[in-house]
Symmetry: C2
Subunit: 310 residues, 2 copies
């Protein structure tokens, strides 16, 4: 698949939908995911394997996974907060499980009531489970609050890299860095991803940036500059982290795709179809604000996207 320059990992059906108060109906979710796939998105985080009493928006995740698996060429990813969630995710047949691990000690306790060291053990257990019961499936860790934390403030960079190395040693396939709280800046992004890549080699994973303070795309550009090629983004900028007060605003998929494609980098996404995929999202979440500057302004006059490669 080296014909693409960039992999956009669409997290809206998980990160976005779990952050809004409304619950999107299952049929609407499937229509939206179909539209995302039709636009050329090749990796979609379709849901979260958490108890329905905690996140009713995700009660239908197994059904959503089952449907997404019928779409050709899509990596079906789901979030699992712990071993039990990962077990359910593998049982549902996902291609890839993503485990959030807090880089901030304070956020880890607040979010999952576990120390970071305990989370590394949980990660190790998930890898063991995968090896035993779901060989060939991928496990990734997303290090949340890697660029700062609304609870403790700054997060020492040495601790971020140490924790990433611990997770890699526990056997995961990749470790990405998440700006859960929108505190990252481009210089910090370049420093941390450069260190991550030096430490982890090809296990260095995605950049998950937020646009809380308007720096989302600049931070993605900074990450690209130091070699990152996978970027999480959410259609309409839906989502944030409900456990990090004040955090909001995933990078908008539409704007991110426009930026990279305008730079001549191939994402595989057809931007016109991507813009059309906002409709099933809007239909499924009536009244929910959808963000995005490119959707609002439209594509520039005379602007032509090279045809998608797939």
């Amino acid at each position: 698949m080296n014909t693409f320059d960039i992999l956009i990992s669409e997290v809206g059906p998980r990160d976005g939908l779990q952050s809004v108060n409304a619950t999107m109906g299952t049929a609407d979710k499937l229509l939206w995911i179909n539209a995302l796939a039709a636009a050329g998105l090749r990796e979609i985080e379709v849901g979260s394997f958490v108890p329905a009493r905690l996140l009713p928006q995700m009660a239908d995740v197994a059904e959503v996974v089952r449907h997404a698996l019928t779409l050709p060429g899509i990596t079906v990813m789901a979030l699992a907060p712990n071993l039990r969630g990962a077990e359910a995710a593998f049982a549902a047949g996902v291609h890839k499980v993503t485990l959030p691990v807090s880089a901030s000690a304070a956020h880890s306790l607040a979010n999952v009531r576990k120390t970071r060291e305990a989370m590394v053990e949980e990660v190790r257990a998930v890898v063991h489970l995968r090896d035993e019961q779901a060989p060939g499936k991928r496990v990734e860790v997303g290090l949340s609050t890697a660029f700062g934390c609304t609870l403790q403030g700054a997060v020492p960079e040495d601790e971020v890299i140490w924790l990433a190395a611990q997770c890699a040693a526990a056997g995961v396939d990749e470790v990405g860095l998440s700006d859960t709280t929108g505190m990252a800046n481009p210089a910090q992004v370049r420093r941390l991803f450069t260190r991550l890549r030096a430490e982890l080699g090809d296990k260095a994973g995605a950049a998950h940036m937020h646009n809380t303070r308007g720096l989302g795309l600049a931070n993605c550009l900074a990450a690209y500059d130091v070699g990152v090629r996978t970027f999480d983004a959410s259609m309409g900028g839906l989502g944030g982290c409900p456990y990090a007060p004040g955090a909001s605003g995933n990078v908008v998929t539409e704007d991110l795709v426009f930026m990279f494609e305008a730079m001549g980098l191939r994402t595989g996404v057809d931007i016109n179809r991507l813009l059309q995929a906002r409709q099933p999202l809007a239909d499924g979440l009536p009244g929910e604000p959808l963000y995005g500057m490119t959707p609002q302004a439209g594509l520039p006059k005379g602007w032509e996207q090279p045809p998608p490669l797939r």
Copy 2:
């Protein structure tokens, strides 16, 4: 003044105020400009020397300039569309005149009813006037639609560089590039500013970016990466270009200052005072929407800006 890394040129009182329907009262303008200066902005484009029948918002520009000249440490800049405007600007005592010259042939005709070649002659006449009547004052050209045009679409990069060289040869002090229409992308920004600096040396001027498609800060970062150190921005993202349909959204000063300061680069701007300067703007333009992600989210927990250097 090499103690600063970055010069933010605040264009709100000109570019912003001329783009809104309401006219801010003179007293309100002066309070706002005072607040901008108090925040540490060192260059302010305070108005435009155009006939009041065309832009009633700018009818008091001479009075605004007179007041701004009393503020210590500020470069008082004004826009002049032509020789007559420049004459009035020099007479009012501005430190610096900025002349817009369209890189797009179509935009030039639509905006000022002159060809680009005729505009270069106008620029030459302004430089001559300056040399005769206002020695020591600075003249800059901002090449509008340098990254694309809503009328003609793409603007050939060779034409942009050719026109910049013509303006430099006409004797101006600096030539900047403006993304009037929000069509720029970071790869293009790096290419064009690299060429501009190679062609013009220290006459290569500011980056004036718009956030129309969300890429404003990413484009500023890209320009910084290739050596640009002066950036136009507008408080609250006020402004655009009334003659480029669909164009909107100057880069938000507050977000741009946050990005650079968070990167450890010194702008000289005290961000808390900068955020306070939104109040006189809001007071003077009741009901006008003000943008800015950093103002909305607030500064990150525990984030400390080094004290301003001035």
